[in-house]
């Protein structure tokens, strides 16, 4: 474990989906450094020391339920759920195969549903829970070659808002973070360095988002400082979409 600080996150039990890479890994490490007990769900092993790794396909119901059961057995509770697990396979609309459509929705949207449901089963009886779901700027703006991805991320907004209303009276807060392009392996797998650089010029604050930017917003939404914030979408995008 990293140097645990005395703070409100110390001892909290957190589950991060997509916890082995990109924003999820940064978030897992941030919470670990605050003294939280962090469980990362992913298909790739975690490289973060001190984060408990569970190999999980988040779109598989039995797989998800088994992982949450195991966490419940070892930790006895879940305080935070952060959903980051997602896939992005760019394809122009007429070349978009039903398989890629289904797989994107299965991981990016059904995966969130399954993990939220499993977490809420534990959060409701304990009358405490904080959930942050990662959507994307393209949920609002749309974009080329990403109809399936945008649809899945738009679905996340509807899911989050409904869950926020349904869970608020039980002291469970659900919010969203919508990043713009962030410097992670996901966009770098499909964009060249030049393309990454050209994206920067479209962002008013003049830089690509970092995983730390997203983790800062997520940590705020998990903390007591956001006690009156629920059902909201934090658009951490350097000013590139103001709606």
């Amino acid at each position: 474990m990293g140097a645990a600080q005395a703070n409100e996150h110390g001892g909290r039990v957190a589950v991060i989906t997509g916890g082995s890479g990109g924003i999820g890994a940064t978030m897992a490490e941030r919470l670990r450094d605050c003294g939280a007990v962090v469980h990362g769900l992913d298909v790739q092993p975690s490289k973060s020391p001190g984060v408990y790794f569970h190999r999980v396909d988040v779109g598989d119901e039995a797989n998800v339920d088994a992982a949450f059961d195991a966490i419940d057995k070892s930790a006895g509770r879940i305080d935070y759920l952060v959903c980051c697990a997602a896939i992005y396979r760019p394809a122009s609309f007429l070349k978009l195969s039903p398989e890629d459509w289904d797989e994107t929705l299965r991981i990016n949207l059904t995966g969130y549903f399954l993990c939220c449901r499993a977490a809420l089963r534990l959060m409701r009886p304990q009358k405490f829970g904080r959930i942050v779901l990662f959507s994307s700027m393209v949920a609002r703006t749309g974009g080329g070659n990403c109809a399936h991805y945008a649809a899945s991320k738009g679905g996340v907004l509807g899911l989050a808002r409904s869950l926020a209303i349904e869970s608020a009276a039980e002291n469970i807060r659900v919010n969203v973070v919508s990043p713009v392009i962030t410097d992670t392996p996901m966009p770098r797998a499909v964009l060249s360095d030049e393309e990454m650089e050209s994206r920067k010029s479209r962002i008013p604050l003049g830089r690509i988002g970092s995983t730390g930017d997203m983790a800062d917003a997520c940590l705020f939404l998990l903390s007591n400082d956001s006690s009156y914030v629920l059902g909201q979408d934090f658009r951490v995008n350097g000013g590139s979409a103001l709606w």
């Binding site: 604050l205 917003a217 914030v229 000013g239």
Partner: protein
């Protein structure tokens, strides 16, 4: 912990409610507070609370609608502290009426105080922020920037204008690394919520809010102050032009 070079933060409407709670919170994190209001009594009370947190405070009786007064006070702050790091443009009033019965004075009071007042303050502080290529501004808009409500057309129009102003400022000043965001509080237990309502009307309104809100309670000014603190800080360093709504789930779109 107080930084060796503390931030200098201007708060308008610092004499009560959200402005007061924010001043106290920012004093605890070491900011030098420059507070203005039209209420001398409220201002004095907030200043005493800030000082009890060992905060440094400068106060000014300023009518935000008066550009000359605003410029003179900002000049005084710059003269004294040499910089302004943050502005929380928060001064507000209310004058409830149906549109049919609304006087021009009721309309103008809200537009001038909220919209022109914020324009005056932003223009005054941005000159020095641009020179230093740094700064953060938070503007108090409202959930009513997004939805309409009866008996508050002046308030809704003013708060929507503030959201638009926020977005334009954000884009205009992003190249100077200056961030501008708005907050859209829901029903917060402040003097403004009571303004224009009899005690009985306030109680009825409170009950109606609480039953309708997903979170089933009014918000406290300190809960909004925490959001303002976040948006002014580097933790929100990649957020600009956004409306962030501490509103108990009242409006979630």
């Amino acid at each position: 912990m107080v930084a060796s070079d503390p931030r200098v933060t201007v708060v308008t409407g610092g004499g009560s409610g959200i402005g007061r709670a924010t001043a106290i919170r920012l004093a605890r994190r070491g900011d030098v507070l420059c507070l203005c209001d039209v209420s001398a009594t409220g201002l004095k009370e907030t200043a005493a609370l800030v000082e009890s947190e060992r905060g440094r405070v400068l106060t000014g009786i300023v009518d935000v609608r008066n550009q000359g007064q605003v410029r003179a006070w900002i000049a005084e702050i710059l003269e004294r502290f040499d910089k302004i790091d943050c502005l929380f443009s928060n001064a507000g009033v209310n004058a409830r009426s149906t549109v049919a019965e609304m006087t021009l004075a009721q309309w103008s009071l809200l537009i001038d105080t909220h919209v022109t007042g914020t324009f005056n303050f932003c223009q005054a502080v941005l000159r020095s922020m641009v020179e230093r290529r740094t700064g953060a501004i938070v503007i108090t808009s409202s959930d009513f920037a997004v939805v309409g409500v009866p008996n508050a057309a002046n308030y809704c129009a003013a708060k929507t204008a503030l959201y638009s102003l926020t977005k334009s400022l954000a884009l205009e000043f992003a190249p100077y690394a200056i961030r501008v965001n708005a907050i859209g509080p829901g029903p917060i237990d402040t003097p403004l919520l009571r303004a224009g309502r009899t005690p009985e009307e306030y109680e009825n309104a409170r009950r109606a809010f609480e039953s309708r809100l997903p979170i089933k309670r009014l918000g406290q000014p300190e809960e909004v102050a925490a959001v303002v603190d976040f948006l002014l800080s580097e933790r929100a360093g990649f957020m600009t032009g956004q409306l962030v709504q501490p509103n108990g789930g009242q409006v979630i779109w």
